[in-house]
Amino acid sequence: MSTETSTDFKSYLTPFNIITGLIIIAGLIVTVIRFTGGLAAVTNLDDNYPWGIWISFDLLCGVALAAGGYTTAAACYVFGFKKYQSAVRPAVLTAFLGYVLVVLALHYDVGRPWRLPYPIFVQQGTTSLLFEVGLCVFLYLTVLFLEFLPALFEWKGWKKLREVLVKMTLVLVIFGVVLSTLHQSSLGALYTIAPSKLHPLWYSAYLPVFFFVSSIAAGLSMVIFEGTLSHKYLHRMMDSEYNRNHNDVILGFAKGCSWVLFGYFALKMIGLTYDNNWHYLATGFGVWFLVELLGFVALPAFLFAVGARDNNFPLIKWTAILTVLGIVLNRFNVSLIAFNYHLPSEDRYFPHIMEIIISVFIVTVGIVAFRFISTRMPVFFEHPDYKGQH
């Protein structure tokens, strides 16, 4: 890092930095418009579509894709897959940043963001599933922060504080799983209140279960995906311990993900049968539903299995991307595409360009923060002072 500070300005002009810079500038401009002109100035939201892509993508997808934190931590500390140890820190960091960004995005989306603490501290609407989501996200953010703190303390060299937190690991991990189960499923349960607005193929009393189980698949796939990405671009920050376990982790997670996707597929079939929705499969929405179910659930389940059996790492990587896309597609289907399916097409919503800019801006901020932290703190490597003591 000392070399970095001495480099001159020109070396910062990498393509990565230029693009990031442009996105951030655009994002800041839209931010100003949003907070001086109101929601109407930057969004296509209307009375029929109170929730747009800031909810579909930033909240629903963001939370689902940050599920790697609790799945990895649970696999390692609760289920005893000790060899996944080296994957925990990157996953927890991603999850933490993911949730921070979700909360950041909510500040753009809600009408009066300074009141976001109200549901917890002022007046509790406990009958609302959104209350459940809010409370859990708030608590889980705290848990993730505490889970990640040891890395920060190791970086700073505060051993005493680190000790205290490391002792609490198990409690934090279990709390994390409880809170994640709750809010991942509650995000799906948000829509159980609106059976008349969501297409029957996607509406189900099992929505919370669908969301929870698919979040596990999303989390595992994200760990695989990020693992390969980081492996490529942040290789210099990884120690031999991380690299030695990397392949093990990928194979294990591919197997796990295939198994979970099998369960998810089964659940979706149960949902179809339980509500007797088979006849909808012959309609346009039915075809779209099958595309999602077969192309983005059944197919990746199969490909993961093949990849894990044959040690085919490129296949596993691409399947992880397919799975992640599938989850994103599912969240968009539930919250936008199959939502308000009864409305005439001219009343339907399409995101405003500025909404998209904000979403891209927020993801970019996340990537920059991840790079900043993982190139400084012991994320991909064990701190020399604390080797082997987790």
């Binding site: 509790q124 406990t126 009958t127 409370l135 409690v171 409880v178």
Partner: protein
């Protein structure tokens, strides 16, 4: 207490349940510590009586 709608009833019971849940989480941690706190050797059926052999025969 009188409730005029299911919604009001739920608002009451859910609030109470949330408070209870907080208690359960704290309770679970304390109970776990009480349960697991005593540092006793795990009884191992395959263990040969090596350390346990002492104590008689003095």
């Amino acid at each position: 207490m009188e409730f005029s709608s299911l919604h009001e009833f739920f608002m009451h019971t859910k609030t109470m349940t949330y408070l209870l849940m907080g208690g359960i989480l704290v309770g679970a941690v304390l109970w776990w510590q009480f349960l697991m706190g005593e540092k006793r050797q795990i009884e191992n059926p395959h263990q040969t009586d090596e350390e346990n052999g002492q104590g008689h025969g003095h």
